[in-house]
């Protein structure tokens, strides 16, 4: 049922077939919305998502997974993928301090992360948010004293929302998504470690036209509006 599309124009109603999009798990909310909007705009088209960790997705694509589009949470994972078109940055995410509702640990800023008596969670340096955090602390010349190096942002956020830690460094989008459980504290140095989300079509994909149309849609103003609402910054 994957028919070649007649046009590159995202608004062309003749676009049809299934577009398979591999997207980072942190994009689950916003991309699900984008997919619905895209399908509404292109009645013949259907978007199928595969949400998982960016590195797992890269691995899958390299093992021959049937993907048309890859949206990664970090350029590094995009680089691991071999058969792809030119990646474009479609969103940015900045760090924010997340504290449990009511801030029981009285966290005021980054310097509290060096306090041995406060429970602190950071992401591990191997994952994007951890790498970003490392950059920030280096820039402000502080040595954080974390109790845990979480494997991803969600794990860190879970510990905040359950009050298990007094503070964690997570993404702005995560704070926004969990706004009835955590409070966010912005800090100026966040700009020094902006995380970029690249998107690209995949050359081995079955629906090249559909892939192109979807990437264009994400980059369009309508796409940007959805992403901004979720807390992402425009590149």
């Amino acid at each position: 049922n994957d028919q070649p599309a007649a046009s590159n124009n995202p608004s062309t109603p003749t676009l049809s077939g299934t577009v398979t999009v591999f997207a980072a798990a942190s994009l689950t909310g916003s991309f699900t919305q984008l997919g619905k909007d895209f399908e509404a705009a292109n009645p013949g088209a259907k978007v199928v998502f595969n949400f998982a960790g960016s590195s797992a997705l890269a691995q899958q694509i390299n093992q021959g997974a049937p993907a048309d589009v890859f949206a990664s949470a970090a350029p590094k994972n995009m680089d691991q993928v071999t058969d792809k078109g030119t990646p474009t940055t479609f969103a940015q995410n900045t760090l924010e301090i997340a504290v449990p509702k009511g801030n029981p640990g009285n966290i005021t800023g980054l310097k509290d992360f060096t306090d041995q008596n406060k429970k602190i969670a950071l992401c591990a340096a191997q994952v994007p948010c951890g790498a970003a955090a490392e950059k920030v602390f280096k820039a402000v010349s502080l040595t954080p004293q974390p109790d845990s190096l979480e494997q991803d942002v969600k794990a860190a956020l879970t510990k905040v929302s359950l009050g298990e830690v007094d503070a964690a460094l997570v993404y702005k989008t995560d704070v926004l998504a969990a706004k009835d459980k955590v409070d966010g504290i912005e800090f100026p140095e966040a700009d020094m470690a902006i995380n970029e989300y690249p998107i690209a079509t995949l050359t081995k994909g079955a629906n090249a036209a559909g892939a192109k149309a979807f990437v264009d849609y994400v980059l369009s103003d309508k796409g940007k509006a959805v992403l901004t609402a979720a807390g992402f910054a425009a590149p």
Binding site: A25, S26, T28, A56, Q60, Q63, A65, S161, A177
Partner: protein
Amino acid sequence: MSRRSRSTTGRLPLVLLLPALLGLAFLLVPLIGLLAKAPWSTLPSRLFSAEVWTALRLSLVCATVATLICLLLGIPLAWLLARGNLPGRGLLRALVTVPLVLPPVVGGVALLLVLGRRGLIGQHLDAWFGISLPFTTAGVIVAEAFVAMPFLVISVEGALRAADPRFEEAAATLGASRWLTFRRVTLPSIAPGVVAGAVLCWARALGEFGATITFAGNFPGRTTTMPLAVYLALETDPDVAVVLSIVLLLVSVVVLASLRERWLSGLR
């Protein structure tokens, strides 16, 4: 043995009862924690979405089919380990536990390396038969069976070792081949062990996440089982994740509670 409540073996000794209850509490209290946390007021509305039911059905189907495959391959394997008189049996038995020790995501990667479209075997499957397992429902079943099979094999092997082999001897003197003996004498006598193994296997398959998402991906309606749905929900709304987990648990408890008693009573 007795239809009356007066037990022939007397009161339960405290030294066993105490740790038993402690163990039970340890397993169940976290569940109570989850239930306490569940957003009961909005729960119904969150449940009546088509996706939840699709994921649930997919989970049940895949776990059941995976269990059947495990039974089909695992019981003979357990029998080979217990009765086969193989050299290096100890090593083989240890190797069987590999999928248990392997972090599930790595297990998924390993499956991709072998059965993926570019994998050792997968490339031939694709070229010769046009079969591609990853990212299909069949792939979910393969991933679940891979992760869950050791439970069945080890449980059944334990049961086989505990069974009295002289009944098999008696069957042999009656002219029964090993296969007939296996079917009609061995298997029925180890039925409780097989049921135990199948329960472990099914439950493990039902809860399987890492290998599934890595090998089969996360495609709603095709490969998104409940645990994957829970994972996605954790990204957007942790409350929904809790609710989905509870649904999964509830269904599994109902299935196990009803099925097992019926099986076991049928056997006794």
